[in-house]
């Protein structure tokens, strides 16, 4: 995912991570529920914002992380900071979840992330909902 997002501009970068984080959130939510996930996200964002102040614009809410404020505040000059910060959020989120669940959720979260298919940057991509990964799609198809 990091490789895939390597040369994207900040807005597209945020979109890509939003997509990835959304996938993680949905998977973790099934097991942990709103309150726990929000509390974890709160911790992750707090720690991230300490290192990368630009991420202070991220908000955790009961349903998901809110990225809009971050998108609005990011300029092209902050691209590297944004990239490092978002990467930090992702890793921190996976680490904390791993610690709290004794790594029980970790394999499925990593699979979710690995199977994610990113938008290629077409003009209407940012208005589309995040893509399901192949694995998720297969799982949903099998269920239906």
């Amino acid at each position: 995912m990091v490789r895939a997002a390597k040369d994207l501009p900040p807005e597209r970068l945020i979109q890509a991570f939003e997509q990835g984080f959304g996938a993680l959130w949905r998977r973790a939510h099934q097991t942990l529920g709103d309150v726990t996930l929000t509390a974890i996200a709160d911790r992750v964002i707090f720690n991230a914002a300490e290192r990368y102040p630009v991420l202070a614009a991220l908000r955790s809410e009961m349903t998901a992380l809110q990225w809009q404020e971050l998108r609005d505040s990011v300029g092209s000059t902050q691209r590297d900071d944004v990239a490092a910060g978002i990467r930090f959020v992702l890793v921190e989120f996976l680490t904390v979840l791993g610690n709290l669940t004794a790594n029980i959720l970790s394999p499925s979260l990593h699979t979710e992330l690995a199977n994610l298919v990113f938008d290629n940057g077409s003009p209407d991509a940012k208005n589309r909902p995040p893509q399901r990964s192949n694995a998720v799609r297969k799982s949903e198809n099998a269920k239906s």
Partner: protein, 719 residues
């Protein structure tokens, strides 16, 4: 960046508390510590905090209205775990008192979480959480607050302690108790006459934890939990081949190969049977042999034990001074079984004690009413001994007039052996006895053995030893010893068979002792060391008599080839003869032995006892290769149909009867050989006389001398 959690357990630093959770408290758990005021909640939590606090593992301690922080800190200073340097940098105290008075739960939640975010602690404490109960407008609000706080603290991976004066009602109805991962209850009450504190882990998610109550104490070191059921478990040591020799005189002869290391033995007996002396000597002999020992005493102080040891002639003080013996006195009223069990474990380990004595286990457990608990505690005591591969002796006071072999009647089932000490009134004095009642994995000598306590300590006189368990060798009729009595060998098939036992029965003053003296003197001529044991006359008198007869005993004594000893009934019991004589025989390589005056000294014993003793003596002499002579006094001066007055004829190989013959003018001494095993003898009665050189056998009473030429076999003597 958050690191991956490697260690999932938190060491509390409270002694033995971690054992209650198998291996420490789960990190990241939220635990309620409930208990009434003064039960030790705050100290317990503070100890855990100070144990774990460091710049990398910070602690936030939220204090509510229950106890002002300043007061808490002042109080904590008296504990050794308190470290002022950890304050602020590692432990942050936050007083929530003002907010509690002015704000609602949501503001408190924010403040708590803001603090957590700023400090990033590994441990969070809220003391007391119950203060929030009063602040909540409804049970729902309290539940929501508790749940969200618990979840948020969990998200920060903090180990959380929520303290509160919660009671039974809260356990059933307070929603907080279903939210948290763990619940520990601390309490205090009177038990077995003692004020005791207890801790119980009621709940701890994901952990196999103890559910029992465990005693604990608060000392200047903080809290110490006593959970012997968990911490004094028996370790698998594997089979032991090493054996302990006690060093107590003759006890090791009874104990076969010795006591296997790792064993515990009860030393049972009513008061005054010598249990304490037994334990002290066990330690003292061990110290002399280079084995460290420790005694836990509940009645006798160290000073009194030292005085007792001094009275027996032992340099106990020296052994204490050089660290070979340690005395731990715990006054009986202060005994707290669980507390002191742990203390004993520590002291045994610290001392590296190989010998452990407890005086007494019955006093140690005297507050326990349930025999099963007494059994369990004895087992734990034995486990301390086994885990240290030591040997433990536990004295136990047996109630008078019972058939029990221990105080509670159950302790013997968990120990490896039982030694019983007893005493019985015999004539004018009380005699002590020792019996090895049980000793696992060791072939030991059964039966009651005489025991004496005197200068030097304990002396045990085994009734028999392992040597007697094998069959005595048969006599070799052709291997004969000269008796040294002119004319006697002619009527006795050429002499006395080697290793035979000759019973000389005769009335008082007829010459039995002279008979014996000649037998010894003859042996000296053939370089056969002799032992003359007198049970009637003093040794000086015996030597004088021998000299008077022209028998060279005095010279032989001087050279060390002969010994004359006097064993008085006042000093030595019949049951002690075996041991004493066996020692002498082995030490001097004795080949000839006379035991003079047996009936006299054994007169107060029952016939059956005497018979058994003589059987044992005979067997012992034969096995040791000794040719012996035993003199018995006959009540009748004149020849009767009875050979001996005690019916002992079957134990002897040869029986010689000395009796007077009536004549008109005088009583004439006569001699008759009435039995020789493995040989032929002249069955006639012969006159004999006593003069220079001793007894000389004369003519047959019927006037016909025995056909000596036919039976004499001088070439086959084993001289």
């Amino acid at each position: 960046m958050t690191k991956k959690t490697a260690n999932v357990r938190l060491e509390t630093g409270v002694r033995n508390l971690d054992a209650l959770f198998t291996d420490g408290l789960p990190k990241g758990s939220a635990t309620i510590i409930a208990g009434p005021p003064g039960s030790g909640k705050t100290i317990l939590t503070q100890q855990i905090c100070f144990q774990n606090a460091s710049p990398k593992n910070r602690v936030v301690y939220f204090s509510t209205l229950s106890e002002p922080t300043a007061k808490t800190l002042r109080y904590l200073k008296r504990f050794t775990f308190f470290d002022a340097k950890k304050l602020d940098e590692s432990i942050k105290f936050v007083d929530l008192g003002v907010l509690l008075r002015t704000k609602g739960l949501s503001d408190l939640f924010k403040l708590i979480m803001e603090t957590v975010k700023q400090v990033k602690p590994t441990i969070v404490v809220i003391d007391s959480f119950k203060a929030f109960d009063d602040l909540a407008k409804s049970a729902e609000e309290l539940r929501k607050f508790g749940y969200e706080l618990a979840v948020n603290l969990m998200a920060w991976e903090t180990t959380t302690f929520l303290l509160g004066e919660y009671g039974e009602q809260d356990l059933r109805s307070n929603p907080l108790f279903s939210i948290v991962d763990g619940l520990m209850i601390v309490s205090q009450r009177e038990e077995s006459g003692e004020h005791q504190r207890f801790i119980q882990v009621v709940k701890m998610r994901g952990v196999d934890h103890s559910r029992e109550e465990h005693a604990f104490v608060i000392t200047s070191n903080g809290i110490e939990v006593f959970a012997p059921r968990l911490t004094l478990q028996r370790e698998n040591q594997g089979p032991t081949t090493k054996r302990c020799k006690t060093g107590i005189s003759k006890l090791d002869d009874l104990l076969g190969e010795g006591i296997p290391y790792g064993s515990s033995l009860l030393i049972g007996g009513v008061a005054g049977t010598g249990k304490t002396i037994f334990l002290l000597e066990f330690l003292y002999r061990g110290a002399q042999a280079g084995e460290k020992g420790i005694i836990f005493t509940f009645e006798e102080t160290e000073e009194r034990l030292r005085a007792a040891a001094d009275g027996l002639g032992w340099d106990f003080d020296k052994e204490i001074a050089r660290g070979m013996i340690e005395v731990v006195f715990i006054p009986q009223p202060n005994i707290m079984v669980e507390v002191h069990l742990l203390m004993m474990k520590d002291r045994v380990e610290a001392a590296k004690a190989v010998r452990v004595a407890v005086d007494s286990v019955s006093v140690f457990l005297h507050k326990i009413k349930d025999p099963q608990i007494a059994r369990e505690k004895t087992f734990q005591l034995a486990s301390i001994v086994q885990n240290n591969q030591a040997v433990g002796l536990f004295a136990t006071d047996i109630p008078y007039g019972t058939n029990q072999i221990s105080r509670f009647g159950v302790e013997e089932t968990v120990v490896d052996g039982v030694i019983l000490l007893s005493s019985t009134q015999e004539i004018m004095e009380r005699q002590r006895y020792l019996e090895v009642y049980k000793l696992r994995n060791t072939a030991h000598l059964k039966g009651r053995h005489s025991l004496a306590i005197g200068k030097g300590g304990i002396t045990i006189f085994p009734r028999y030893n392992l040597e007697e368990l094998r069959e005595p060798p048969s006599l070799e009729p052709t291997s004969r010893l000269a008796s040294g009595i002119p004319g006697f060998d002619d009527i006795c098939d050429g002499g006395l068979a080697e290793r035979s036992v000759t019973l000389v029965s005769g009335s008082a003053g007829i010459g039995k002792s002279t008979f014996g003296l000649q037998f010894i003197a003859e042996g000296l001529k053939h370089k056969q060391p002799g032992l003359y044991v007198s049970l009637e006359e003093g040794s000086a008198q015996i030597v004088k008599t021998a000299t008077g007869l022209g028998l060279p005993l005095k010279e032989a004594i001087h050279k060390g080839t002969c010994e004359v000893i006097y064993l008085s009934r006042e000093q030595v019991r019949a049951s002690q003869f075996l041991a004493i004589l066996a020692d002498k025989i082995k030490a001097k390589k004795i080949r000839r032995l006379v035991l003079d005056g047996v009936s006299h000294v054994l007169g107060d014993e029952r016939s059956e006892d005497l018979r058994q003793l003589l059987f044992a003596l005979v067997a012992r002499f034969k096995i040791l290769g000794v040719t012996s002579m035993i003199t018995l006094e006959a009540n009748s001066m004149y020849a009767t149909g009875t050979i001996t007055d005690h019916g002992f004829s079957r134990i002897a190989d040869n029986i010689v009867m000395l009796r007077y013959m009536r004549s008109l003018a005088e009583d004439i001494p006569s001699l008759a050989v009435v039995k020789t095993r493995g040989g032929a003898h002249d069955r006639g009665t012969h006159f004999f006389s006593i003069g220079k050189g001793g007894i000389r056998v004369g003519e047959r009473v019927d006037g016909v001398l025995a056909p000596t030429n036919k039976k004499r076999r001088p070439d086959k003597r084993a001289n």
